[in-house]
C-alpha cells in the first residue's frame, strides 16, 4: 500500500471504515476535508454556536428527577434533549451538517429516518436554510410515526416511502445511500446517527458531543461531583455517543447504553446488535451486526422505530470490546412501562427510544449509593409516540 492512501483512518479499534461503492469515495474525501476545515474555522464554529443557542434552544436543561431517584436509591438527573427545537437530540447533528453542506455548496439534502425525528430535524434546518430536502422512510415506520410524516411535509420536505426489505430504518438508509450515489455531485447526505462510512461516525459524534459537554459542566455545577453513571438508549447510538463523549475520559464514570430487546433477547425479534450481534459490514462500516451465518443481515425488531436497526455505530463496538462502556437491553414491554413511569414520576413524557433507558434505570434499585448522581439522557420527547402507546399500552389509563 502506498503512502498516498491513509490507512486506518477513522477507525475505532478494528471498527468503522469506508465500505461503500467507489463512486462515493471522492465525496467522502471531500466531506472529510470540508469537515476538518470547518472544525477549526472560527466562523463556522460561531455560526454553529449561534444556531444551537438561538434556533435549537441550547443549552438544554438539566433537571433533577427526585421521585425516580427515590425509586432506585440514587440522585437522578435528566439531560433534557427533549426540550430542543423539534423535540430530540437529532437537531444538534442536522444543524451542524446543514451548515457544512451549505459551505460545500450542496443545495440538495438527503436523509433517512426511522422514528421521523431525524427526518423532522433535517426538514427543519433545510427550511431554515432554503435547501431541498428528500427524506427516505420505511413504509412501516410511516404508519407508526404518521404525525412526523406530516410534520416533514409541512416543513416542505419530500418524504419517499421505502417498500423494500423490512420497510424500516435499515432499508430507508440503504435507499438514501442509493440516492446519494446517483446525485452525489449536488447532494449532501445527512446521516442521522453515528453510523455509516467515515467520516460520519466521528463527525456525528462531534456534533452530538455538545450533550456530554453541557451535561458534564451541569452535573459538576449542580452536585460538585462527577456522576457515578451516564445512561442512554442506543439505536444507531448518536445520543449515547454524544453524552458519553463528555465523560469517556473520566474513567470512574460508568457509561451504560441501553439497546432494544424487543420481544426478548431469546425471541429472535430484537435490535440488540451489541448484546447479541457479531462484527459485520452494513451501510459502510464494520461494527456489531445482527446477521446469520451466511452474512445476511437479520431483520431487527423494536417497538420504537428509532431503535429498530440491526447495526450500531462502530465506536460503540469499540467501547464494548474495550470494556469502557456497558451495554444492556430492555424489552418492548419494559419500555412501555418506562414510558409511563417517567411521565407519572417526573412529568416528562419521553420518546419510546428514551423509555428504554428509563426502564433499565428503574430496575437498578440497590445498585447505587443514595447520594450518587446518575445522569439519564432524555434523547427526545414522547409526543410522536402517544398515539401508538395509547393503542398498545398494557397499563390502564
Amino acid at each position: 500500500m502506498t503512502a498516498s492512501i491513509p490507512v486506518n483512518r477513522d477507525r475505532f479499534g478494528a471498527y468503522g471504515g469506508r465500505y461503500v461503492p467507489e463512486t462515493l469515495i471522492p465525496a467522502l474525501d471531500a466531506l472529510e476535508s470540508a469537515y476538518e476545515a470547518a472544525r477549526v474555522d472560527p466562523t463556522f464554529q460561531h455560526d454553529l454556536s449561534d444556531l444551537l443557542e438561538h434556533f435549537v434552544g441550547r443549552p438544554s436543561a438539566f433537571t433533577p428527577a427526585p421521585r425516580l431517584g427515590e425509586l432506585i436509591g440514587a440522585q437522578v438527573w435528566l439531560k433534557r434533549e427533549d426540550l430542543n427545537h423539534t423535540g430530540a437530540h437529532k437537531i444538534n447533528n442536522t444543524v451542524g451538517q446543514a451548515l457544512l453542506a451549505r459551505r460545500m455548496g450542496k443545495g440538495r439534502i438527503i436523509a433517512e429516518t426511522g422514528a421521523g425525528q431525524h427526518g423532522v430535524a433535517t426538514a427543519t434546518i433545510c427550511a431554515r436554510f432554503g435547501l431541498t430536502c428528500v427524506v427516505y422512510m420505511g413504509e412501516e415506520d410511516m404508519q407508526r410515526q404518521a404525525l412526523n410524516v406530516y410534520r416533514m411535509r409541512l416543513l416542505g420536505a419530500t418524504v419517499v416511502p421505502v417498500t423494500s426489505g423490512t420497510r424500516t430504518l435499515k432499508d430507508a438508509t440503504t435507499e438514501a445511500i442509493r440516492d446519494w450515489v446517483t446525485n452525489v455531485n449536488d447532494s449532501h447526505y445527512i446521516i442521522g446517527s453515528v453510523v455509516g462510512p467515515a467520516p460520519y461516525p466521528r463527525m456525528v459524534r462531534d456534533f452530538q458531543s455538545i450533550i456530554g459537554r453541557e451535561a458534564r459542566a451541569q452535573v459538576l455545577q449542580r452536585t460538585g461531583r462527577l456522576p457515578r453513571a451516564v445512561v442512554a438508549c442506543v439505536g444507531g447510538g448518536s445520543n449515547a455517543m454524544g453524552i458519553f463523549a463528555g465523560f469517556v475520559d473520566d474513567a470512574a464514570v460508568e457509561l451504560i447504553g441501553v439497546e432494544a430487546a424487543g420481544e426478548g433477547l431469546a425471541s429472535g425479534h430484537h435490535s440488540a446488535s451489541l448484546s447479541l450481534g457479531t462484527p459485520g459490514v452494513l451501510h459502510g462500516s464494520l461494527s456489531y451486526l445482527l446477521q446469520d451465518a451466511q452474512g445476511q443481515v437479520h431483520p431487527a425488531h423494536s417497538i420504537s422505530a428509532g431503535l429498530d436497526y440491526p447495526g450500531v455505530g462502530p465506536e460503540h463496538s469499540h467501547l464494548k470490546d474495550s470494556g469502557r462502556a456497558t451495554y444492556v437491553a430492555v424489552t418492548d414491554r419494559e419500555a412501555l412501562e418506562g414510558f409511563t413511569l417517567l411521565s407519572r414520576l417526573e412529568g416528562v413524557v419521553p420518546a419510546l427510544e428514551t423509555a428504554h433507558a428509563v426502564a433499565w434505570l428503574a430496575g437498578t434499585k440497590g445498585r447505587w449509593m443514595p447520594d450518587e448522581p446518575v445522569v439519564l439522557c432524555v434523547s427526545g420527547r414522547g409526543d410522536k409516540d402517544v398515539a401508538q402507546v395509547r393503542e398498545l399500552s398494557i397499563l390502564p389509563l
Binding site: R18, I177, V184, H283, G295
Partner: protein, 263 residues
C-alpha cells in the same frame, strides 16, 4: 471439460480477445435467480450464446449499489435460500468453459471466513469483485482477496480522480470495471455523455482491459461502448430477460454478441 481455476484464465481470455480484435461481452447473473436449477441453466445458456466472462452475483440482503431489477432478483434468490455456499455450488455445477467472476458485497464473503476464496477457486471462479471494498479502505482484507489466486477485479467510477485510477490499476487484476454513470445498477435509454472521456482518463492510468457496466441495456449501447472500451457488462437488462425465460437471456446474449462483433 476441464477449467483452469486461476486469475490467469481471465487474463488469457482478454489477451485472446485483444489478439482477435474483439470486445468482451461480460454478463451478470444473480446466483439462485429465478431459482437454483434455472440459475445453472442460465449460466450455461449465456456461455453458449457468446458471453466471454460471466459475473455471478452472491445474493445479499442489503444491496446498496443495486437498482430495482437486481434488488428484486436478489430477494427472490434469498427466498430460495441462496447465499455464498449455494452460489459456489451453482458455479461448480454449471462448469462453464468461460471465466466466472464472483460478484459480491463484502459481508457474505467475510462470513464465509478464511477458506471462502479457496472454495471459490475450487468451485471454478477465476475472479472476485467486491462492490463495497474500494482501494485503500481496508488493506488487510484487500490483501486477502489480492492474494487469493483469483483476479481481484476493481471498480472505477466517473467520480474517481486520475491519481486514484492509477492506484486502482496497480491494485487490481483481470480487468477494470468502469461504472458508466453516477448511480446504481439498472437499465437506461441513453449512455452518459462523459463516458468516452472517462474511458480515456482510465486508459491513461492502467494497462488492464476496461469493461464498462451499469445501464448498458441494448445491443446498440453495447456497440457504442464497444467502440471505446475493451468490453461491456450487461446486468439488469440480462436479469430482466432471465425473468422472462432462459431463451430470452440467451437471445439477448446473442444479439449483444452480434452487435459487439459488428462494432
Amino acid at each position: 471439460m476441464s477449467v483452469t481455476t486461476s486469475s490467469d484464465t481471465l487474463s488469457a481470455r482478454f489477451a485472446q480477445l485483444r489478439g482477435e480484435g474483439r470486445r468482451a461481452l461480460v454478463v451478470y447473473l444473480t446466483a439462485g435467480f429465478p431459482d437454483p436449477t434455472r440459475s445453472v441453466e442460465l449460466i450455461r445458456a449465456v456461455a453458449e450464446a457468446g458471453a466471454d466472462v460471466i459475473e455471478v452475483g452472491v445474493p445479499f440482503s442489503d444491496p446498496m449499489a443495486d437498482g430495482p431489477i437486481i434488488q428484486e432478483s436478489t430477494r427472490v434468490a434469498l427466498q430460495h435460500g441462496v447465499g455464498l455456499t449455494e452460489t459456489l455450488a451453482i458455479v461448480r455445477e454449471a462448469q462453464v468453459p468461460v471465466p466466472v467472476v464472483l460478484f459480491s458485497y463484502l459481508n457474505p464473503l467475510l462470513a464465509g471466513g478464511a477458506g471462502a476464496m479457496t472454495q471459490a477457486r475450487d468451485a471454478g471462479c477465476s475472479g472476485v469483485l467486491v462492490t463495497d471494498l474500494p482501494v485503500g479502505v481496508d488493506p488487510e482484507r484487500e490483501a486477502w482477496f489480492g492474494e487469493s489466486g483469483l483476479a481481484f477485479v476493481r471498480l472505477v467510477a466517473p467520480t474517481t480522480p486520475d491519481e486514484r485510477m492509477r492506484e486502482i490499476g496497480r491494485h487490481g487484476g483481470g480487468f477494470v470495471y468502469l461504472i458508466s454513470r453516477l448511480g446504481v445498477t439498472g437499465t437506461q435509454d441513453t449512455l452518459a455523455p462523459e463516458l468516452e472521456s472517462t474511458v480515456a482518463r482510465l486508459r491513461a492510468a492502467t494497462t488492464l482491459p476496461i469493461c464498462v457496466g451499469f445501464g448498458i441495456s441494448t445491443p446498440a449501447h453495447a456497440a457504442t461502448v464497444g467502440r471505446v472500451a475493451d468490453g461491456v457488462i450487461v446486468g439488469s437488462a440480462m436479469i430482466r430477460a432471465a425473468s422472462e425465460s432462459t431463451q430470452a437471456a440467451a437471445s439477448l446474449t446473442r444479439a449483444l454478441r452480434a452487435a459487439l462483433d459488428g462494432a
